[in-house]
Symmetry: C2
Subunit: 131 residues, 2 copies
Amino acid sequence: MPGRRRGVQNRCGRRINRFLEPCLLLLLHGGESHGYELLENLRRFGFSENPADSSTIYRILRSLENKGFITSRWAEGDSGPARRVYSLSPEGDGYLQMWVGDLEETDRILHRFFSEYQNHMELHHSNGKKT
Amino acid sequence: MPGRRRGVQNRCGRRINRFLEPCLLLLLHGGESHGYELLENLRRFGFSENPADSSTIYRILRSLENKGFITSRWAEGDSGPARRVYSLSPEGDGYLQMWVGDLEETDRILHRFFSEYQNHMELHHSNGKKT
DNA sequence: TCATCTATATGCAAACTGCACCTAGATGAT
DNA sequence: ATCATCTAGGTGCAGTTTGCATATAGATGA
């Protein structure tokens, strides 16, 4: 069902920087896989119908391989064209750990934003009127 | 103390896309302010010593003004050069609401990532070995 | 006069992303 | 056989964002 997404896209973009990278690493942490399959499995992370363009996925995978965080081999499938199957390397596992720490920091910042926001809203609520 | 940050930067960049935008909007929600002051106040959000380059701030403010979400006027300060003082517009207030909803969605995705990650870790923990 | 602080801004390059488009094997229908 | 379609991987290009360097300029004090 996935693959090339044609037509108009949401184009909101307000997400996390390079967030697809740790998602792909986490999927590969569960076992080797190829790009097309990874693209389908990305939906698990709750992107509402908008994970990414396939070109983005393939490019991220290529860059992860260039950095030595994953390795690839060609595999003849039981059906369809050959697949480039990726596996997580030990370095990639460490990189995933780093990503997790970084995202936890991001999460803290996010919650500081929410609490600041709620502070403001309570102050404005007390004067009863909101233009 | 802030201003031009010279020297080497962390260059990790794994943060939230355009996250500075809602932070600036929220600060302006608390009252008008100018760029240099906003830059200082950004630290409240818990960016660990790395909020943003001043050029980024000024450019985001300019783009928010172009979209009509904030307005500006020149103000002669009691000291130092003139300042461009920004105020949140009603449209900007709505835009901030939208951002909050969007970041809540981001937060949900983030936590789905964390729970997937913990699932994996528990599975790997059971076989007793972790490099 | 000169350095420094405050304040705003531009130029440039690198990175990331979305969209359009291309290649190519496999599969099934006509 | 030919064609459309699905699977699978990929490139080219343009728009956006960002970090770093740098420019401009008023104010202030040595």
